[in-house]
Amino acid sequence: MDLSYTPKQQAFRAEVRHWLEAHVPADPLEHYDASRAGFEAHRAWEATLKSGDWGMVTWPKDYGGRGLDLIEWLIFEEEYYRAGAPGRVNQNGIFLLGPTLMEFGTPAQKQRFLPPMASGEEIWAQAWSEPQAGSDLAGVRATAVRDGDDYVLSGHKIWSSRAVFADWAFGLFREPGSERHKGMSLIFFKLDAPGVTRTPIRKINGHVGFAEIVLEDVRVPAFNRLGDEGQGWHICMATAGFERGLMLRSPARYQVAAASLAGMWQARRNSADPLLEADVVRAFMNAEAYALNIYQTASRLSAGAKIGAEASTNKIFWSEMDIHLHQTALAILGADAELVPEPGTLRRGDHDWLDDYIFALAGPIYAGSNEIQRNIIAERMLGLPR
């Protein structure tokens, strides 16, 4: 064990910090789910990032990355959150589909899809759920019928994040007649293709964060299938690992929030409940524990290990930590907690505790509900019977 950064890692941190200081917008962008304008402002930010070669630093240079390792990725994320830089509108692409493409894609697919993903030219939505298949992904009913070099897609997807404004989506489609885990393929489709209808779904904060997608005879080339025909379930499980694991929820996000919470506490402690200090300290402890856990995982992966069911413990931990942290913030705010900040009053680095609390409430639900995660931990880590 050696818990200090190498000179190279320190230099990298300085480089990231320097670049971000020069480029991060002074005022927060409108949220990418709030409007088309907010979405496009975030796409423009992705292009700016790419101009500095920061699109996805762990990817190979050929695909728009820098070929860096996981520790450097964590350092990049630390600086990114520290700088209060905009949220990553293409997270479904760069954090979920990207790593999956890297593992299962053909060279031609990687060359086609990864660089515009890293640059934000093509922004991705996920299309996992269906009205009858939420936690039960094997219950997917949408179909892909092979027709020469094409597939013809039909079906109904829902809770697709980013799909209202995004360019592309990926989802599971099954060979007609196949059942449960078999016969499914992971296929990409353009969201403005003929036969695709998108209906926005508003989140409880009022933003149109999701869409319902109806596909009626949508024709896509077979090139858009990732992996072998029928391999979709297997690939999807790998993707779920990424989602719950390292990338989706950077420790830096919570460390920044915990530090802000501590600052707010110090500013307001004289008028707040003195007993909340324990919660403020706990929020800090949680964020540190999460960071240390992720550093440990990164060390393990660097030494050749694969991420396994322990990714489910991450999902539970960060989702519960996030709710606790924001509950504490609202408790400190006391009588002001219910009030939405006046438009335009939030500056870079300011937290919208209320909106973030509402967002945090979704944590135990999405990316596989915490009930499902606890089942996975019990069955795959602990070996309890199904």
Binding site: S129, Q132, A133, G134, S135, D136, G139, I158, W159, I201, R202, K203, I204, G206, F210, A272, D273, P274, L275, L276, L330, A331, L333, G334, A335, D336, A337, E338, L339, V340, E342, L354, I358, L361, A362, P364, I365, Y366, S369, N370, E371, R374
Partner: protein, 343 residues
């Protein structure tokens, strides 16, 4: 020693449940939000016609002269539908205070009158745009002001069915009603917030139960999974142990002593915690649906959140319970204790 409700109380509660249930439907919530409104004049007129607004005004001041238990049942029904109108604030807190300070005031004779009330602890006033008068706290006094003397600045509550304003006012332009019992107002606010919390909590459980019976996953209703059952059973348990506290608090608030204050604060804390727990359990049970604007549960969560901040924080209320616990005897023979008269 009897916890049962009278026939009259049950009748009033039934009237409220029916009126609110018929008019404040999920469809009506949606219509109001679509038009960015939080007040329905038709419903308010019907509410006024039932007598709910006059319940806590003494007969001598033109009211019905009923008690806090009676009104708590109405407030509970209001919570069950997340009623947007300021019935609780106006009729439950402001009107009885005005009746104590100015029993002859004409507003007390107008059942449709809305009296806004602004204790120093609250940063905003709900439904201030429809108020016919304002009761305002300054240095322990209550000031009565007319709407034309009040400057309203809209603020935005997380609760879309709660319309709040920051207010500016000039004591010189208002009528000083003299020292007022703001502690008593806080007690009533606590009891009726608790009652609303009970309504919110039960509604959340009811919505989640209905969904869990219907929604299928992995080939069976999600309500048959132990995790779903246990979420909702825990929420219902919290409700069952908050409701008697709320009722006891309503029954004793008129004592106005340290015991009654502690009980009111206790009721408020546990009822709003139950509402929060039930709403979050309901969101979790609904899965992604629960996180969408179109499912109603978030409205209950947001109302509970808004109520938690008004009329004293949880810490303020906990301190009132601590004051009772650490300065008066506690134990099994003290459950229904009252301050001994000092006469």
């Amino acid at each position: 020693m009897d916890f049962t409700l009278s026939a009259e109380q049950q009748m009033f509660a039934h009237t409220a449940t029916t009126l609110f249930g018929n008019t404040c439907t999920p469809a009506h919530w949606r219509t109001m939000m679509q038009h960015d409104r939080a007040f329905d004049p038709d419903r308010w007129a019907q509410i006024a016609a039932t007598g709910f607004t006059a319940m806590l005004v003494p007969e001598s001041a033109g009211g019905l002269g009923l008690g806090e238990v009676d009104f708590a049942l109405i407030a509970q029904a209001a919570g069950y539908v997340a009623l947007p109108e300021p019935l609780v604030e106006s009729a439950g807190i402001a009107a009885p205070m005005l009746a104590e300070l100015a029993p002859d005031h004409a507003l007390l004779r107008d059942p449709a009158a809305i009296i806004a009330i602004a204790p120093a602890a609250n940063p905003v006033v709900a439904s201030a745009d429809v108020a016919g008068a304002f009761l305002l706290e300054k240095d322990g006094h209550a000031f009565l002001a007319t709407p034309d003397t009040i400057a309203l600045t809209p603020a935005q509550s997380i609760d879309p069915l709660r319309r709040v304003f920051r207010i500016g006012w000039d004591p010189a332009a208002a009528q000083d009603l003299g020292p007022a019992d703001w502690t008593r107002a806080t007690d009533r606010a606590a009891v009726f917030a608790a009652a609303q919390g009970m309504g919110l909590a039960q509604r959340a459980v009811d919505l989640a139960v209905a969904y869990a019976k219907d929604r299928q996953q992995f080939g069976k209703p999600i309500g048959s999974y132990q995790a779903v059952k246990h979420h909702l059973a825990s929420a219902q348990t919290a409700i069952e142990f908050a409701r008697p506290v709320m009722l006891a608090a309503a029954a004793t608030v008129a004592q106005g002593d340290i015991y009654a204050r502690a009980r009111a604060s206790h009721a408020r804390i546990v009822a709003l915690e139950a509402a929060d727990q039930a709403a979050r359990a309901a969101i979790q049970v609904h899965g992604a649906m629960g996180y969408s604007w179109e499912v109603d549960v978030h409205l209950l969560l947001k109302r509970a959140l808004a109520l938690t901040g008004c009329w004293g924080t949880p810490a303020f209320h906990r301190a009132r319970i601590a004051a009772r616990l650490f300065t008066r005897p506690a134990g099994p023979d003290q459950t229904f204790a009252k301050e001994q008269s000092v006469a």
